[in-house]
Symmetry: C2
Subunit: 382 residues, 2 copies
DNA sequence: TCCACTTTGGCAACAGTGTTGCCTAAGTGC
DNA sequence: GCACTTAGGCAACACTGTTGCCAAAGTGGA
């Protein structure tokens, strides 16, 4: 049953040109439900009282009571004891029932697949890791992803999952779930990977059993966007920088992942840092990537970190970001060197103002993919 | 009367850290009203039928009838004749009643003040231009701005305006309306310019007449953000580049101006394009600004355009922008040279994909400031 | 021990939203 | 002249958050 005016996770037909949809009572309820759920999630196991929720949402306590009663009836919210009294009746605390639902996040990387199952709080409850040959092509990868999801899904099966997030390298269209031209793998271009995975997760278990039951919602996103989402449900404006076989970035603005109208946002590696510098494989000259990876190749990690930092400072200044996360295999070789180098570059450009925090990513891309799958429950588009 | 849960233009107490507010019926109505008004605005004088509005909003025709009846009773919407029949009763067209309200936009630049009065459609109906000495300090500038608004306000007076937008150079906090450290003008730091202007626009006309009537809502924003808004109510992801005494940028993502958590977004001029290059006045080396302005100073405009284009390409790739607007006095010296240079740089980085459109800004900063003042009516935060 | 006070939070009635079902008006096309 | 299509209003409706009121459950002073 599709409600008019409300946006479901599967609603990808709407182009970004179209206006925001009109809102009806269903959309209003969904908004407030997600808002309350998000606040309870952020509060953690300690929970929150109804009065706290009312103060933070701007709704009346009575409305909060109705909303929480509904969420409790659906199993999303549970009691968490009582708080201390502040001169009157102590508040009855509520917490997110983290076990109510689960999501699976999959990182389909060039040479291996990592997958995690998380609960509603984002806590990893199961994980899995297998080799993967991305060059084997779409069908093999879609099958491997679906296999991983089934193995992790738990006793209730894949269709009970709140969502499945798939992170893959290279250009792809987040809205349609179709892959673009992945460097070195031309056979991927135009493949509807999201649909291929979704088909394999339907109850019938086989591909193309037309109008069988519907499986869990599947989202496909760039690995860098998943990396950005891995920093958790924080609402900041942050930048995730990935240094692996190339340089990439994921952008979060006010908590939302920014993808751009063509899902191409986050192109970070081919920004020019040295006009007319050494040629890059992209055809340009003096790109951050060619400079940074050259420094890595000759073992000069501090210089690589400096270059990464200069590129980061350019992006931070443009976006007014307040946090930078670093990830990827190269960073993991020497986390302190990279964080220190980036921090130094940012500080030099801060002109005495506050410097964004710099840290290595606290969770992997698979965790971020799971976060993307959970996001709609908590009122985020992504 | 402040409605709980709804966001008014004056609601600046909410930090960007707070969650989105809960929505009640008032917020829902406001959302739909603004949505319909925005669609009618975009449709222009030709107008739109109720069925068109229903299709684009996702609301039922009946809901659209109620909404348009309300807007018509308030004078915001008027009849626009009938459309052609498509096999049945021809639709009754509705259009925005552009004359229903007006807004004033003011550009307080370093050496002159430009102001415009626009109607709801954004059409300029009056304009004004006077010298201004920004160095004369906050009080003199606030007085000059208020004077300009009063002179342009029209017969109904300033308090009848739908809004007043003020664009000023340099760092400032959009949320609080407080100025930052303007280069070369230390006396500005910390001055609450927005409040100062608002005080002078209250019915009593004098400063500090405490609880007199309330004047029109005032917004204060960076000139570059106003420049970005000047491209009209288009919902794209675009970049406005300003080349004057420095290099600045205004960012629009999905139609909304992106300001960042500290209102500092759009810092474009001090991105490093030439690592360890010539020193810049900011203390860094090889910034886009120092390279570009040096080329301008020696008369090499094509090289200046190339440098601007390389910086633009960096930003476009990061944001996935689909449009670039150029403005500022230096660009106006040789618009074709700059548009061609920027276009060439963007094309070289597009890797065969679509290239963002490049053009000189079609309206000035004052027009953009007026647009920012009107934005809340049409459902945009900015 | 009692009692005033504070705070939590549910019940019932309410105002107001968009939706549904049904109707009339006003065209087209055979 | 008539069947058909499309636009758009009226009335009843389901459901939202809000308001007014009250009971429950604490604190703290007399």
């Amino acid at each position: 049953m599709v409600e008019r005016g409300s946006v479901t996770p599967d609603d990808t037909s709407r182009s970004s040109r179209d206006p925001l949809p009109g809102a009806n009572l269903g959309a209003l309820r969904g908004h407030n439900d997600a808002l309350v759920l998000g606040l309870l999630r952020a509060a953690g196991p300690a929970g929150l009282g109804r009065a706290d929720l009312a103060a933070r949402t701007g709704l009346t306590p009575q409305a909060v009571s109705k909303i929480t009663a509904r969420l409790r009836a659906e199993g999303f919210v549970a009691d968490a004891g009582r708080g201390a009294s502040t001169g009157g009746k102590p508040r009855t605390l509520l917490r997110l029932a983290a076990d109510a639902r689960h999501a699976v996040g999959v990182h389909a990387d060039r040479d291996e697949l990592r997958a995690v199952r998380v609960d509603l709080a984002g806590t990893v409850v199961d994980r899995l890791r297998t080799p993967l040959d991305f060059a084997a092509g779409p069908d093999a990868v879609a099958a491997a992803v679906a296999r991983a999801v089934h193995r992790l899904a738990g006793p209730a099966g894949a269709q009970a999952l709140a969502g499945v997030g798939v992170a893959a390298p290279g250009p792809l269209d987040w809205r349609t779930g179709v892959m673009g031209r992945v460097t070195g793998h031309p056979q991927w271009e135009g493949h509807p990977l999201r649909q291929a995975v979704a088909d394999r997760l339907r109850p019938g278990d086989g591909v193309g059993d037309g109008n069988g039951g519907s499986g869990p919602p599947v989202v496909l996103d760039k690995d860098t966007n998943a990396g950005a989402a891995a920093s958790g449900p924080d609402s900041g404006t942050s930048l995730y920088l990935h240094v692996g076989t190339g340089l990439g970035a994921g952008i979060r603005l006010g908590g939302e992942v920014h993808r751009g109208p063509r899902s191409a946002a986050g192109e970070f590696g081919h920004q020019v840092l040295l006009l007319d510098g050494p040629p890059c494989r992209c055809g340009g000259r003096g790109c951050a990537e060619v400079l940074c990876l050259a420094a890595v190749a000759r073992g000069d990690l501090p210089e690589a970190a400096r270059i990464l930092g200069e590129g980061a400072a350019n992006a931070v200044a443009l976006l007014d970001a307040d946090r930078v996360w670093l990830g990827g295999r190269v960073v993991q070789q020497a986390p302190e060197v990279f964080t220190a180098g980036v921090r130094r570059a940012l500080k030099a450009r801060a002109f005495g103002g506050p410097t964004p925090g710099v840290a290595t990513a606290r969770a992997g891309v698979a965790e971020g993919a799971a976060e993307l799958a959970l996001a709609p429950l908590f009122g985020r588009k992504a």
